[in-house]
Symmetry: C2
Subunit: 257 residues, 2 copies
Amino acid sequence: MNKSGENVIQSVCRAIQIIRCFEKNEELGVTEISKIAGLHKSTAFGLISTLEANKLIEKNELTGKYRLGLELFRLGTKVNSALRHIAVPYLEQLVKMYQETANLVVMDDLSIIYLEKVESTQSMRISTLVGGRLPLYCTAVGKAILANLPPEELNSKLKRMEFRKYTGNTVSDRNSLMESLELTRNRGYAEDNEELEIGLSCIAAPIYNHFNIPFAAISLSGPTFRMDEVFRKEASVTLMNYTGEISMKLGYDNNNQ
Amino acid sequence: MNKSGENVIQSVCRAIQIIRCFEKNEELGVTEISKIAGLHKSTAFGLISTLEANKLIEKNELTGKYRLGLELFRLGTKVNSALRHIAVPYLEQLVKMYQETANLVVMDDLSIIYLEKVESTQSMRISTLVGGRLPLYCTAVGKAILANLPPEELNSKLKRMEFRKYTGNTVSDRNSLMESLELTRNRGYAEDNEELEIGLSCIAAPIYNHFNIPFAAISLSGPTFRMDEVFRKEASVTLMNYTGEISMKLGYDNNNQ
DNA sequence: GAATATTGTTCTGCATTATAGTACGTTATG
DNA sequence: CATAACGTACTATAATGCAGAACAATATTC
């Protein structure tokens, strides 16, 4: 038993902690790592050697420093592979139909994480970062999920949310978010009208799990001037059809709506 | 010190071993994991709880089983991020120019691993798997790297290679591979002419590190009938220009060739 | 629906194992 | 050239991870 009350294994936590050091630094030496992680140099060395033996980190022979290893990448690609394999063909279809970038995200507590994207080939396009994290309240995908969450779950999240005004359009308090979600529910799909970034608009629809609870979403994002009312109306129909099919393929048998 | 002679930390290795269990199974329970990993149930439970607390695995509340977690995905996206960020715009440019799927791979011992792809929007196209692993000798990217390796390093790999004949065109012994690499060197770029799969052809060029040693490559792959001699000649020039630029941006100052 | 089997989880004492300290060789740095 | 910083190896000790048992919760069988 450790301080935090959880019964976790120290050396494993420390190893993960070391991997996390590389989020902010591409390459690190033993001493650097030990300082960042607050570990004794020799302790860090043992953990580093273990991670290296398992290829989760690798040594740059030129600099003598360490960086994240290919095995970590490979293992990462196995996460949520069912969802991703099912969804990607739909994303590709969306790009083909609408020439805008399509995304697949999953919810993680108060954020969404980008799992997959298929980029538009247009030169002026939106470039999201796979693996990136954004707040639920200022993205179309986030609102698509929030709007369809069971009330208790939504409330629990609302309580813990901290709002930040990215643009003039960002919903920045609980009440306006609730209104926006109400609108989303009625409309069937979610919109982000320059709420994260000026010039960027999105539409999104949620993907449901076996409990009929949304946990993921797909979206189309592009420059606002191309995402007009007509476009959004039309594209959102496709989006909702696709999320329906994806939900179904995941094993969710939708009997409502 | 453990049996294998390496001074590695048992619990960390076991934790990684548990993560690896999920490569072949999307979801697993505690007992299943403990059996696969050959660990005592309670030992596995402790490790699992630790991984769960760190979000490297997560519990499916419906089934009560575990699966790989989003944190693992996120960390995986940080691997080789410099190379990937530099290379992706070039891949996109290639797709735009040639309407074929473009790939970025890195070498890992005797294999290449797909790091990034940008898919062609054509309906008949080649779909590689990011995170996937293929042998060096039967891929254009692999041969692009092998052909430009220092002789000692090439030899050390050749000795350990085991050949498998995927198609009638697969080079399946050391000598024919050596010939193929000689041709690749003279030509400047590598070809895969249905050596992995009938109907699939590729061209590739290597990316060099600071030592002037190739460690990665980019490629264009498509159906053979579209990848004719003229196309390959022309596209390969672009490919080589791009790999030159990528190598340069990585800090490699090329003074030869 | 009762009985049984299987699985997930908690607890505890013991022995193993991870740890920190020291020390040494090697590479940067001034 | 001297000195500092760094990576790596060794060792003793004490903390930690581990297996076993026992319990709780869920599935399965009849």
